[in-house]
């Protein structure tokens, strides 16, 4: 499974109460899918799955707007 697919599964199951209609461009913040608890779980999930650490400075809205933006964040952190 690619990271995008795994992130989508996480968002659908953990954040959206099992909703299957969510794609990688679903607005996570504006759509009210992420709350502070969900964001923490999402960061833990990313760190466990990819081994990269998400520094506090990168926990900003632009990096968590959609699954695509999270994916880009992880690629950028990996390249560091």
């Amino acid at each position: 499974m690619t990271l995008t697919q795994e992130l989508l599964r996480f968002v659908r199951e953990e954040l959206a109460g099992g909703s299957p209609v969510i794609d990688e461009n679903e607005p996570l913040i504006d759509g009210g899918l992420i709350d502070s608890m969900g964001l923490m779980q999402l960061i833990t999930f990313i760190e466990d799955r990819t081994g990269v650490r998400v520094p506090d400075d990168e926990v900003v809205p632009d990096n968590f707007q959609t699954v695509t933006s999270i994916d880009q964040l992880v690629q950028r952190l990996k390249a560091r």
Partner: protein, 534 residues
């Protein structure tokens, strides 16, 4: 004379028509604008025949319009019922149905979520779409007005017949029987708290209050109405700021917030992830916290980061709003392992009754009772439940005076202050939210594969409590942890969904055949220790 929440707005709009009342992102409403906008919302409800004795649901993200909507509902004479816009539609719909709201202020997105629930919401006569631009065709069902199409400003729509004991808002809290229960709170209830707060924390028209708490949570009553009462400005923390600690720290500094009020876990999150040292917060002078116990190691660190602010611990269940408080001095005893919840607020009397029915004296422990005008009227539609909580004052038999039994156990110190000791029942606090473990168990029981369900809480410094469920499956049926957590997610707000669900063939029993909660507690504590290992 101010005896309704709307009187605060009326008086401040006369005194400070051009001063900022509500700020949200780049939008600022002056007192004059807030007054006139809320008149228009009131006019829409009045035109629809909605007024005193009615309820209106509010289901929209925090914004200046949400505040306008609250005041509009109150001006029409009705009570508002704020529901969590992030909660599953089924739970929100239960609340709106339970208290038979006649009006609803919401957004296009939420209306789509509510599509399946709408037919059952038969009492609704009018829906205001707060994000509506007036260019979408009308749908079936109740009449709809878009924000852009609200009627003109007509201050004659203010319902002058309301009195202070009329309900102002209903706040739904977790219920042990499986459904949330609506706490009915009057104008007098709110004014008792707001007047005390404004005086005690010396809030003036020069202050800027943050609004961190969601509007369905009673901490927001302080933010909004203490601002309106004093002519100050309330600045709304939206999700794109509040979710991101680094952003939030900067926001507090840049927006020159003077008065902050939140649950301790929000401050702990700022401390651990907000890079607080980057800013000075030179305007910040008061930090209030409530809703849960503040772990001492974090409280000390937060106080160090905000060295110029005064700290106060506020205590009180939704049923009374705040009823006791304690000023936490910066020279806090370095050996102190806890801080008290303090003494009763002005015009609020608290006392404790021990297991033998006697009033607790210094050194003793008992259940905390509250008396005064800040008490709830009751739980919506739940007469028996109300009778259990609002009881005749046990200390004086001469006449019937309802007092509120908090269910909280407290210890009294020599100087008459109280310390919180624990709960009498299965209610826990997580991230400041009240959670009845029974409500989560009832949600699990609705799953066809669940034979027995037990939900337990594990104490946690960062968020207060973490929730874990242990279930046994119906013979012959199989169910996974993932399925059950997703199932809970469709029925419960996220903060109530257990972090883990252990599925077992059988649950352990005590000698009397009851489910053995003590040994289950050991099971859920065990993996935690492993996970905490560095």
């Amino acid at each position: 004379m101010a005896y309704l929440l709307t009187h605060y707005l009326r008086d401040s709009a006369l005194k400070y028509p051009d001063r900022p009342a509500v700020a949200c992102r780049d939008i600022v409403l002056t007192y004059g604008e807030l007054d006139s906008m809320s008149d228009r919302v009131a006019a829409a409800f009045t035109d629809a025949g909605i007024g005193r004795g009615d309820r209106v649901g509010l289901c929209l993200p925090k914004s200046e319009r949400a505040v306008v909507a609250m005041l509009g509902v109150l001006k029409a004479g009705a009570a508002y019922v704020p529901v969590d816009p992030a909660a599953p539609a089924a739970r929100s719909a239960y609340i709106l149905r339970d208290c038979a709201v006649r009006g609803l202020v919401t957004t296009s997105r939420k209306l789509r979520d509510f599509r399946d629930e709408m037919p059952a919401l038969t009492a609704i006569d009018l829906i205001i779409r707060a994000d509506g631009t007036g260019d979408e065709p009308a749908a079936h069902g109740p009449r709809r007005i878009d924000w852009a199409d609200l009627p003109g400003d007509d201050s004659s729509t203010v319902n002058a017949r309301c009195i202070e004991s009329d309900p102002a808002y209903l706040l739904y809290t977790s219920g042990s029987t499986g459904n949330p229960k609506g706490v009915i709170l009057s104008h007098r209830h709110a004014l008792t708290f707001v007047d005390w707060s404004a005086a005690t924390f010396q809030v003036t028209a020069d202050d800027r209050l943050s609004n961190h708490a969601p509007h369905h949570f009673d901490l927001s009553v302080f933010d909004i109405y203490v601002a309106l009462c004093t002519g100050a400005c309330v600045d709304i923390v939206t999700d794109e700021v509040g979710l991101f600690p680094v952003r939030l720290a900067k926001w507090i500094d840049e927006r020159r917030i003077t008065t902050w009020y939140s649950v301790p876990s929000a401050l702990v999150r700022l401390l651990l992830h907000g890079r607080l040292e980057a800013f000075e917060y030179s305007a910040l002078r008061t930090i209030l916290f409530a809703g849960e116990v503040f772990p001492m190691k974090y409280l000390r660190q937060v106080m160090q980061q905000f060295g110029k602010a005064e700290f106060h611990n506020l205590y009180g269940p939704t049923e009374t709003n705040v009823c006791t408080w304690f000023h936490v001095a910066h020279d806090l005893d370095p050996d102190a392992t806890e801080i008290p919840i303090g003494h009763g607020c002005a015009n609020t009397d608290v006392f404790a009754i021990d297991d033998n029915g006697f009033e607790v004296r210094p050194g003793g422990t008992g259940e905390l009772y509250v008396r005064g005008p800040a008490l709830l009227h009751g739980y919506w539609g739940l007469t028996e439940r109300t009778r259990q909580s609002l009881v005749p004052n046990p200390l004086q038999p001469a006449y019937v005076e309802p007092v509120y039994r908090t269910g909280d156990l407290v210890r009294m110190t020599d100087d008459g202050a109280y310390y919180f000791v624990g709960r009498r029942d299965h209610m826990v606090k997580s991230r400041g939210y009240r959670i009845e473990l029974g409500e989560i168990e009832q949600a699990l029981y609705q799953h066809e594969c669940v034979r027995e369900a037990v939900v337990l809480a594990r104490a946690d410094d960062e968020v207060g409590a973490r929730l874990h469920a242990v279930v046994s499956a119906v013979a012959g049926l199989e169910v996974t942890e993932q399925e059950l957590r997703a199932f809970c997610g469709t029925r419960l707000p996220r903060y109530m969904v257990p972090e883990t669900v252990l599925v077992r063939d059988e649950l352990p029993r005590t000698s009397t055949g009851k489910v053995d909660r003590v040994s289950l507690q050991k099971i859920i504590e065990a993996p935690a220790q492993e996970a905490d290992r560095p």
